[in-house]
């Protein structure tokens, strides 16, 4: 146990050190596109607030939840990228030739990516407040639950990303598949439009998208309503999502590295 901690801490610190040397790419790569969504679409689609069944006071308030969860989606799905590059550069071979518990590789990725994701969520919410005056009306407890929902969704995504990083040959294929996954996940969710405004088949599919659940919970918490029953249901759905993706991921992982 002590050994596992030492390994995991060392591997996590490596990612932190790398990040501190790539600050610019981090800012432009991860945060800026999300702000772009918020600002561009927020102004473009103000009228959506007049759609029947629309509960948020305005589109920006509505969109903030979508942007928060899209940020989680983005960083979660890129959670395996570093591992992929380690695999290609041979650095992974160096790590695996050490007498480490293989799980420390996975744990350190989870810790690091979830840390980054938390910071990103806070930055998005801060920007939404400073630019548009949107803030979680459910208060600090609500904020804590927003983080919880975000991280639970992120956990499963990181597992999926790590699985693909291990299973797929070549980063070209990896990024192609990521792009292929991201768009339908976003459009078949309530990130940009409420479920009431979707055609029937789309609404049907969105009902199977874990992202929809995460967004709906975050949205309620931002608008200010506490719907404990719904929140609980969302947490259960996300936990199930995590269990499935982590189970899958650990099978692929242990087949690859023993």
């Amino acid at each position: 146990m002590r050994l596992l901690l030492q390994e995991t801490r060392a591997l996590t610190m490596r990612s932190v050190k790398r990040l501190s040397r790539e600050r610019i790419s981090m800012i432009f790569g991860l945060i800026q596109p999300m702000l772009f969504w918020l600002i561009l679409f927020g102004n473009l689609f103000q009228k959506t607030a007049q759609i029947p069944g629309f509960q948020a006071p305005d589109y920006i308030t509505f969109l903030t939840a979508g942007v928060v969860v899209m940020t989680v989606l983005n960083s979660g799905l890129s959670g395996g990228v570093d591992l992929l590059f380690d695999k290609e550069s041979g650095f992974l071979e160096r790590l695996l030739s050490a007498p480490i518990n293989r799980n420390s590789l996975i744990y350190s990725r989870f810790i690091f990516v979830m840390g980054i994701t938390s910071v990103q969520i806070l930055v998005i919410l801060l920007a939404a407040f400073l630019l548009f005056g949107v803030y979680p009306h459910s208060g600090l407890v609500g904020l804590a639950f927003i983080m919880l929902v975000g991280l639970l969704f992120g956990l499963g995504l990181i597992a999926i990303s790590l699985t693909l990083a291990f299973a797929i040959k070549g980063h070209g294929n990896f990024f192609a598949l990521m792009g292929f996954l991201t768009l339908p996940l976003i459009f078949l969710s309530t990130a940009l439009v409420p479920i009431q405004a979707m055609p029937g088949w789309m609404a049907f599919l969105a009902g199977f998208n874990p992202m929809t659940y995460a967004i709906e919970a975050v949205r309620e918490l931002i608008i200010g309503g506490w719907h404990w029953g719904h929140l609980l249901k969302v947490l259960v759905v996300l936990l199930a999502f995590d269990a499935v993706s982590i189970g899958l991921s650990s099978r692929v992982f242990h087949r690859q590295v023993g």
Binding site: E7, L11, K17, R18, G90, R94, A98, P99, G258
Partner: protein, 321 residues
């Protein structure tokens, strides 16, 4: 107990047999070289020893531990310097070493001392706090070796340690390897440079298409070819070399064998390793009334060994590329 024991190792990827029927031992304290052309299966063998690949068949034991059932014990006694320069360009040299020290569970004070020692060993103390991004190829390789030495291993495994390096860096790395051996380390390395194997290795195994072609010390392998070679060229015309060859074999005790060129103007004579054979040889040839146009004396090289056992050169001539 041997440092490494490989018994009947076989490794297949899908349908392809990459290593077959490989049996060899590495003694404690020796520098053992796996020599072979590209694709011979050197890295595959090494990765099996490191527990990164599972053998398809056969047993591999490292310092008494089985690679399949006790992989962590095996990894604990090995230091590894991979073939590709496996460095993270966003870390400094020292950060690499700290990471590796943690992965081998050194305590803080142990790690600190060890890091200073290995940095001094590979002359990187001055550059330790620079980003690896700014290192030259030779420096990266040195850092690789330093990482391999951090765990204070029983066996250091180096996969093509001087591939693609300039002459000066190669010689420096040879020097580290010799010093490490003096300090009692067992070293297993692969190479496809014959001179490197010849200079560094106590024993070598020649691998060709996944099979062991020959094994032994470079000296004994060369001796096994039947001694030094004297090539004698005669003028054009009918030389009746067969008669001469029979006479030389009969009359000179140190002649081990003779090969004639088909064009009847060259003969290749194997003599017991000793330059003093040359003068009596020349006299005899003259006595038999032959005129020597040119004569060349050479010691067998590992290249000759390689060609003899595998039937081809280790590298294609670059002119053909």
């Amino acid at each position: 107990m041997k440092a490494i024991e490989i018994h009947n190792l076989k490794k297949t990827f899908g349908e392809k047999n990459v290593v077959e029927n490989l049996t060899l031992d590495v003694e404690k304290g020796e520098v053992f070289g796996l020599l072979g052309p590209n694709g011979a299966g050197k890295t595959t063998t090494i990765r099996t020893i490191l527990t990164l690949l599972k053998p398809t068949e056969g047993q591999v034991t490292v310092w008494g531990h089985d690679v399949v059932t006790q992989p962590r014990d095996v990894r604990q006694v090995l230091g590894y310097v991979p073939q590709e320069k496996a460095v993270d360009r966003f870390l400094t040299g020292r950060e690499h070493l700290i990471l590796v020290a943690d992965l081998y569970h050194l305590t803080r004070p142990e790690a600190k001392k060890r890091i200073e020692d290995v940095l001094a060993l590979v002359d990187l103390s001055q550059k330790a706090d620079e980003l690896v991004n700014h290192y030259s190829g030779g420096m990266k390789k040195k850092l690789d070796i330093a990482c391999g030495m951090i765990p204070n291993p029983k066996i250091l495994v180096l996969d093509e340690p001087t591939l693609g390096l300039d002459v000066e860096s190669r010689i420096r790395i040879w020097d580290y390897i010799r010093r490490l051996q003096k300090s009692g380390l067992t070293i297993l390395m692969t190479t496809n440079y014959l001179d490197e194997a010849d200079q560094l290795c106590d024993r070598i195994a020649i691998l060709d298409r996944g099979r062991l072609a020959a094994m032994g010390s470079p000296e004994s392998l060369k001796k096994g070819l039947g001694g030094d070679r004297v090539t004698v060229r005669f003028g054009p015309g009918r030389n009746r070399l067969e008669e001469l060859s029979d006479a030389l074999k009969k009359e000179l005790a140190f002649v081990n064998g003779i090969k004639l060129s088909p064009a009847d103007h060259e003969m290749e004579i194997r003599v017991a390793s000793n330059e003093e054979a040359i003068s009596p040889l020349i006299q005899k040839i003259h006595q038999h009334g032959h005129l020597i146009l040119a004569i060349q004396y050479s010691r067998p090289t590992l290249e000759d060994v390689f060609i003899t056992y595998t039937g081809h050169k280790i590298k294609e001539d670059s002119a053909l590329l």
